[in-house]
Amino acid sequence: MKVLVAVKRVIDYNVKVRVKPDNTGVDLANVKMAMNPFCEIAVEEAVRLKEKGVASEIVVVSIGPKACQEQIRTALALGADRGIHVETSEEVQSLEAAKLLKAVVEKEEPKLVILGKQSIDSDNNQTGQMLAALTGMGQGTFASEVVVDGDKVNVTREVDGGLMTVSLSLPAVVTTDLRLNEPRYASLPNIMKAKKKQLDVMSPEDLGVDIAARLSTLKVEAPAARKGGVKVADVAELVDKLKNEAKVI
């Protein structure tokens, strides 16, 4: 079966985020970018499905500026077979991303679509669910285990208070949580091979999707800094402060 994986180019998770002085956004100039960590887990899961003989072909798709091709190549080096780049320099919000992915799903007809549960930049946690709704598919969100069984997929989900397993009819959408797997590193020979893999570029217009944003960002600020307090000498002083000063116990 064919698996489609969507990946997003975001700020590297190790980089300290700085808000621009004019409060228009986060400073991304000369900042290291990488594949969103939840998307890496999505790619890894698809590759493992292929290694188990469950998946036959892995197509990886990314939406964004030309530089996204770096992340598509990374996914190809990790084991994806073919790439699709939906190129645009405009900001693409979740609903519009889901509409673009729906158009790709209609072309490619995958049995399973795997996405990260959220991107570490906008933290929306929406695109997978929106794609599932728009394509009429079931969804296994925040997955910690994915087991394909014939024309069904059982997804164990990380929910408040524990784990919940659902059974979905294929085709279906899965979004990954942190504990689904530990992504591998790409080997040098595979990085070289990835450069020769097929990568098709298309535009939102080619896919017939209007990507005009519905949400406008009025300002972006640094969070209110929390001031450090005092050091206490021992447990007796701590308990005294909590009881008599902070009055929380």
């Binding site: 985020v17 986060v26 979740s94 946690n125 669910q129 929106m130 059982n154 600020e221």
Partner: protein, 312 residues
């Protein structure tokens, strides 16, 4: 325009998060209706009718909603919500699952995890794991919003007398079925809404040592949490994780034990009213956000703390 709030519950009890979501809806202004969708939820509906400031409670009581499957709830809420100006739900794992489906079915954007309401179309939310705070404005006719419950003081659970109306809408998308669930059982308060939280990090060394924290928790009526490092090391289960990728908490008192204070963790607890840090490394970043810091070996400090608390 009126506002539809989707109640958070477990079919038997209304969750406190619902009261915070109603508080967020109140900040927008307008009539507030609450939708209770689930199976055998008459008790939850009664509780919802008593919430201060609620106009009407709508009840969709059917087995298809019993496990809160996103596909079924999505269709239900999209249909019921069509006539409203705003649809609000808590940003827990249920709300995060079905609300984007609602937004997509209504062809509107969703604003996730809001911390503040600026006006009826403008909301404040964290981005980049809480390292930046964005103010966003929606141009859609229906605003689909998930709310970070800890950011809003709950409205009173009693005092209202809303009418209760049963809906005859059964939406079974036929895409998913419930298989099973493993929910952690605990007599302690729920981590996300507890007034006091005590969390352990990698410094706890193993899962067995978390018993020390549990004993303190029982003395204080607190919930026990953990850092991602402690979860990843296998000390405790994932549902105890406090942080951007785990639970967001904002208790009156947060006690961080053997937690260094990675950004990821701070994003999940820095809205707590009073923070206590106990760590042997005096350079640990957690001390930069702590109101009271105690530098010391937790294996000495925690037993001492336990006996001091017992003596109170």
């Amino acid at each position: 325009m009126s506002i539809l709030v989707i109640a958070e519950h477990d079919n038997s009890e209304l969750k406190q998060a619902t009261l915070s979501v109603v508080a967020a809806a109140k900040a927008v202004g307008g009539d507030i209706d609450v939708l209770v969708a689930g199976e055998n939820v008459s008790g939850v509906a009664e509780a919802a009718a008593k919430i201060e400031g609620v106009n009407k409670v709508l009840v969709a009581d059917n087995a298809v909603y019993g496990h809160f499957l996103g596909e079924n709830l999505g269709e239900l809420v999209a249909e019921v919500g069509k006539g409203y100006g705003h649809i609000f739900a808590a940003a827990g794992t249920v709300g995060k699952d079905f609300m984007p489906r609602v937004a997509a079915l209504l062809d509107v954007a969703q604003v996730s995890d809001i911390m503040r309401v600026e006006s009826e179309d403008t909301f404040v939310r964290p981005i980049y794991a809480g390292n930046a705070i964005a103010t966003v404005k929606s141009s859609d006719a229906i605003k689909v919003i998930t709310v970070r419950p800890t950011a809003f003081d709950p409205v009173a659970a009693e005092g209202g007398s809303a009418s209760v109306e049963t809906l005859d809408v059964v939406k079974d998308a036929g895409l998913s079925t419930f298989v099973n669930e493993e929910l952690a059982k605990s007599d302690r308060p729920d981590l996300a809404s507890a007034g006091i939280v005590i969390s352990g990090g990698r410094g706890m060394q193993n899962g067995e040592n978390f018993k020390m924290l549990e004993q303190i928790a029982d003395l204080l009526g607190a919930a026990v949490g953990a850092s991602r490092a402690a979860v990843d090391a296998g000390f405790v289960p994932n549902d105890m994780q406090v942080g951007q990728t785990g639970k967001i908490v904002a208790p009156q008192l947060y006690i961080a034990v053997g937690i260094s204070g990675a950004i990821q963790h701070l994003a999940g607890m820095s809205d707590s009213k009073v923070i206590v840090a106990i760590n042997k490394d005096e350079e640990a970043p957690i001390f930069q956000v702590a109101d009271y810091g105690l530098v010391g070996d937790l294996f000495q400090v925690i037993p001492e703390l336990e006996s001091s608390l017992k003596a109170l």
